[in-house]
Assembly symmetry: C2
Homo-oligomer: 268 residues x 2
């Protein structure tokens, strides 16, 4: 018997909360109709926002709380003072077993700190990671860590490989996702000690993981592997560099289109 899936939502977290959160949840309800939702936040506002979304309202419960974690609040401060926040309460629903998943678009640092404090990590894993779903020429890949940690640590990289592999099986539905470690070259001798040690562990191990080896920056978008493993410092910079590059290319295209349009109009 499949257990009923309940998603706990920080309805007040994020730049355009709570409106964007309610609208997003309504979209999710259409895409995955069997799921139920717990929305944490300002009861009156949320009830109002749900009026146009009756299908959502039917499968949702609103849990009132007064506080919101600010986007610029420091993680330590949020952890100490945020116990009445929508973010804390949303996580707490998972801890209490009322929901299986928590979603927040709010302050990332605070979310990592609160989630680690309340839920701990899976036994044997020292640190959580932030995973990004990255569009590729072949479809999509998962890249982690993209900023939860800033250390270079072989053990952490191995943990991220296991987490990412499980994510790709669960979310992408792949049977045997391939896993690569991001490096400055694909040869075994390249890179610093931590990436070399992590690769050695993944190669030697008897874990049922399809380890591809090292990949380079351009392999991420090429989709060379399903799971890209990297430290949070490098991953964060790679992700934001990619975003910046996409914006730059867009800028070039807009410029070219405008010039072409102007020349057609004879500069009127």
């Amino acid at each position: 018997m499949a257990r009923e899936l309940v998603i706990s939502i920080d309805a007040m977290g994020g730049d355009h909360a709570p409106q964007a959160i309610v609208e997003g949840t309504a979209l999710a309800q259409i895409r995955i109709p069997k799921v139920k939702f717990l929305l944490h936040g300002d009861h009156a506002k949320l009830q109002q926002l749900m009026v146009p979304h009756q299908a959502l309202a039917k499968v949702s419960q609103i849990r009132h709380c007064d506080d919101v974690v600010a986007m610029d609040e420091k993680p330590g401060q949020a952890l100490r003072k945020g116990r009445n926040s929508s973010m804390w309460r949303a996580i707490d629903s998972v801890k209490a077993g009322e929901a299986q998943v928590v979603v927040s678009a709010g302050n990332t640092g605070a979310l990592m700190a609160m989630a680690k404090f309340q839920l701990r990590t899976i036994e044997g894993l020292s640190r959580p990671a932030i995973a990004a779903i990255w569009p590729t020429i072949r479809g999509q890949s998962v890249v982690l860590d993209v900023g939860a940690n800033i250390d270079q640590d072989a053990r952490q990289l191995v943990d991220f490989a296991l987490l990412g592999e499980a994510f790709a099986r669960a979310v992408f539905g792949l049977e045997r996702p391939s896993v690569g470690i991001l490096n400055v070259g694909s040869e075994d001798m390249k890179g610093h000690e931590e990436v070399k040690a992590a690769a050695q562990t993944l190669k030697d191990s008897s874990l049922p993981i399809r380890f591809y080896g090292f990949i380079e920056g351009h392999d991420i978008s090429a989709g060379t592997v399903d799971v890209v493993v990297t430290d949070g410092f490098t991953g964060n910079i790679a992700l934001k560099t990619a975003e910046g590059t996409a914006r730059l290319v867009g800028h070039y295209i807009r410029g070219a289109m405008q010039r072409s349009l102007f020349s057609k109009l004879g500069y009127v």
Copy 2:
């Protein structure tokens, strides 16, 4: 009195050498007509290739040598066995004072090793860096290191800031280029110890350098600063990730254009 500028060229290094190298040198001769060239490589082949480029031939000397450093040769091996290579000889012309600049499109690792061995670094600088000229929304920036080193080291980052600043003054002609350190956030508290220590040194210092502070990955293409300083591991991955992203966007656009073309043609 301005000294005559002589550029020493490894005419045999690179994927499409020597033809692409001679053609590139001919273009350079048109753009910077007062410069002279020393081309190192196979005399007969180079002379043949220069027949269509008489303006270049007039300001060039060919220096014959028999060997070429292979693109996949290990730096240590190239250093030991490559003394008769076009790359070694091209660098040697600078050492001998016959040229002021050396250019090679060949094996990067071998070039770094040979250049460091023959020319040493400027006094006070421990390591050379590879600098990339990066297109931005504002024009161009210089990013370094993009792969000569793989260490995270505060002292090296400070050196790269000074090198990059001098490069931006000399090559971009800027009077007071701005310098930023690549990090996972722009706040002072973000990042690992090495980037924090380097930022502190650049801030405290009495050096005539316009230090902007930390920048993030998306700031590179935005052109937030003229000089982007980073360790070679992160810089190499950022550069290749940007290249991969540009290719991905190109792929999307081609796909969209083809679909649009096919729909106009009614799938004939």
